[in-house]
Symmetry: C2
Subunit: 211 residues, 2 copies
């Protein structure tokens, strides 16, 4: 691997501004002060299904990260890569127990958060024809479990801010855009505010007022 940052080139993020999955990467890169070259993709024009993006990610999804000869799809994988390579142990601890704690929440981000608050937002904000009742059920369940966790802990894993928080934050903080009210979840709202107060926090459009 060539060290692109040391060589004066930033990792390239194929990016979509309103995507919470892309925002995970932009947020973490800002918090960890990792330079990124953002390359916006015209989603409405279908450019994520055309070259060069489809050649980099046959899944036709964003974000995609290119860093020298490294090409990665999936926002969770990109967080692990950037944290391991450029972010230091703080954001992605090296020990087995802490890694396990973090990965629990990366799976939650890939599964329940995606199929709950993210899907609700795709329906309400972007008009996609998906199952809103199922998204609300998944959302209610995962927000209840997240709230119960945050009653006992300020952060999702390792007793400190990690890539787990970066992976879960975007679609939870944007839940209102999916018609999901965070009022019943005071500990989630406090966690959102806590993240928003971290040094180098990067906001995005549509965040809950608490943040």
């Amino acid at each position: 691997m060539t060290d692109t940052i040391a060589a004066g080139r930033a990792p390239v993020l194929y990016d979509l501004e309103p995507s919470g999955n892309c925002y995970k990467v932009r947020l973490f890169a800002s918090l960890a002060q990792i330079p990124l070259e953002r390359r916006p993709v015209d989603f409405l024009a279908g450019d994520h299904k055309r070259e060069p993006v489809i050649g980099l990610n046959p899944w036709g999804e964003l974000p995609v990260l290119v860093d020298g000869d490294v090409v990665l799809r999936d926002s969770q994988a990109i967080l692990v890569y950037l944290a391991r390579r450029y972010g230091g142990e703080a954001w992605w601890p090296g020990d087995a127990c802490r890694q396990g704690e973090v990965v629990q929440w990366l799976s939650t981000a890939a599964n329940e958060i995606q199929h709950g608050p993210c899907t609700a937002r795709l329906i309400r904000k972007f008009g996609m024809a998906l199952d809103e009742a199922a998204a609300r059920r998944t959302g209610d369940r995962i927000l209840g479990l997240l709230e119960a966790h945050l009653v006992r802990s300020d952060w999702l894993a390792a007793n400190r801010p990690t890539i787990a928080d970066c992976a879960v934050f975007p679609y939870v903080a944007l839940a209102g855009e999916g018609g999901i009210d965070l009022a019943p979840y005071p500990f989630i709202r406090a966690w959102i505010a806590r993240i928003a107060q971290l040094p180098h926090f990067l906001p995005t459009a549509g965040l809950a007022p608490a943040a």
Copy 2:
């Protein structure tokens, strides 16, 4: 952390025999020769929603791993923990690029595999009232992407068997139980056979004949 294995005690797996998510952990532990104490949970009696399991995992899901003072839910997180702690670098590489490659597939296991072939199997084999058309659509898409990947590579990540293969294998190899035919996917079938030929491979009931 106390080292439970060095102290003569094996990590405890709260286990459900027919669960592909539990099989991920049993399979990896066998391949990496990590001892496990299996503690079967009576799912039909609802014991996963009662103490002691619900106290260990408020999500009420299996598997759960307990290793000394470490308690983890989520099969992907358990794979990362066991590999990092007891499995050596081969199954879960330490470098950023390889970790990113592996985590791409851990997300796929948590998302598309869960909502595709796993859900199809829950409907056909266990009679759960879920959306079969959606599960088939997700299954067709992910199997097509997996097939295309395996045309170019023998393994999912890092050019060798890793926890990525262990996370994706169970529900793909059990797809037939969900009414999904693997005949159109020769490279997936060859990968299943390749995994089944690894030293210390652990079979489970219902695997495709190719395996």
